[in-house]
Symmetry: C2
Subunit: 254 residues, 2 copies
């Protein structure tokens, strides 16, 4: 954990404060860190219980990792919180809107600057939401807020525990799933994004889209590379595909 | 100057070393910093003379700004160097190639991460070169090399002293000039990038393309924004336009 992430608003410290946060606005909590050295008392049990009920990740970590927070009265419990409230996936699905929905799903994007830039691009392109898994992906924190230039307040962000079941649910709700992968069959501009609900899955910087999610996708698209140098940054790759979808939409409606 | 930029290979220290660098490989030098407190002896005069002859920026700066370099025997003179050798603009123009040439021109892009990401995208899309002004724009340093994922070695980088006269020269050589600006007349996808040499001008994060360069452009294009949030990161904006040009090229040749 870097010192410069320790700003106010990014973390909630102490047992009572974390319990209160879990009871009042669980949707803003990214995850809960509990020191391995902490006494397993009633409050800790309550925190674990509330976290489980709300589908929030909790981790037991060595007390050395709490060293950065020693200026705060954390009592061995810290909640990392998002600067915005996440939108509930089912609420989002059940909210009727005119026209088709366009989503971006992130599958293992680790860099907070990339996360911020993708949120910013999707907001500009009028996409409807971004889905972020609660594990193995950067979460929305103050760095993301800054890199997104405030876009986190302009597009719904949905945090989910299982991408796999989220994708299944989207397919049940008439979404087409489009994964971006270097070994894709079609060029990203050779598929038709109009006249359908869709979700574009962008994979992590090192790992790409997971095999399981690739296998669930209706399309796997690639971005053509013209040099013996095959390495587009994930936020740039995302903007290329996001804006191709928008381009088709605008052309189609003319 | 940040401490973490002080790595080997980014700077050349001392009068004799800087003179030698100027005589042997001036193309790698971003700029020369001279302490205001330095004695104006023959070697300093020689450095200034050589810098002028090679069109390299030199700046007299307060000795406090040399404090970070005090571990090195700099004698009041430091040259900031690029990890790659810049390509000469006229050599580039005079090198014949098959087909049309595609360039990116940066006009005041200040963030080294954005510079690296744009170089990376242009390299992937098979663009022919990137033109970077020697003033008021990030220069190619170790951070850019890293952010570009090594792309600086896969695409020619051209450093010029005057963007204005470079654009004139490009127009003389049958290049069409396309500037990106939020107030552009056409959507970026409504112009035809095929069958011509062209250069896309991307402006700085805060300032955009300068008025003078906008007035010289054959096209001024915008990227449509669908929300009441109008702020695409410059590297993402660049990738959207760069890949639209490539998309048209591939579609056109099918």
């Amino acid at each position: 954990m870097k010192k410069n992430n320790l700003q106010k608003g990014n973390y909630i410290y102490g047992r009572n404060s974390v319990i209160e946060a879990l009871m009042q606005g669980a949707r803003r909590i990214n995850k809960i860190l509990i020191s391995k050295n902490v006494q397993n008392d009633n409050k800790i049990n309550e925190i674990i219980e509330l976290a489980k009920n709300n589908g929030i990740i909790f981790q037991f970590i060595p007390k050395e990792r709490f060293a950065d927070f020693n200026d705060f009265n954390h009592q061995g419990v810290i909640a990392s919180v998002s600067p915005v409230e996440y939108t509930d996936f089912y609420e989002f699905l059940n909210t009727k809107k005119d026209g088709y929905s366009k989503l971006v799903i992130l599958d293992g994007v680790e860099d907070t600057h990339n996360l911020g830039a993708i949120i910013r691009t999707a907001a500009c392109a009028g996409f409807d939401a971004i889905i972020i898994p609660s594990r193995r992906n950067a979460q929305v924190n103050a760095t993301v807020e800054k890199t997104s230039a405030g876009a986190i307040n302009h597009i719904p962000l949905i945090q989910v525990n299982s991408l796999s079941s989220t994708i299944d649910k989207l397919k049940d709700n008439n979404y087409w799933i489009i994964a971006a992968d270097a070994h894709g069959k079609d060029n990203y501009f050779d598929i038709d994004y109009t006249g359908m609900n869709f979700a574009i899955i962008m994979g992590g910087e090192e790992t790409g889209v997971s095999k399981n999610n690739l296998s669930k996708s209706d399309f796997v698209v690639k971005i053509p590379m013209l040099r013996n140098f095959n390495s587009l940054n994930v936020s740039n790759a995302a903007s290329v595909i996001i804006y191709e979808a928008l381009r088709q939409d605008i052309k189609h409606s003319v």
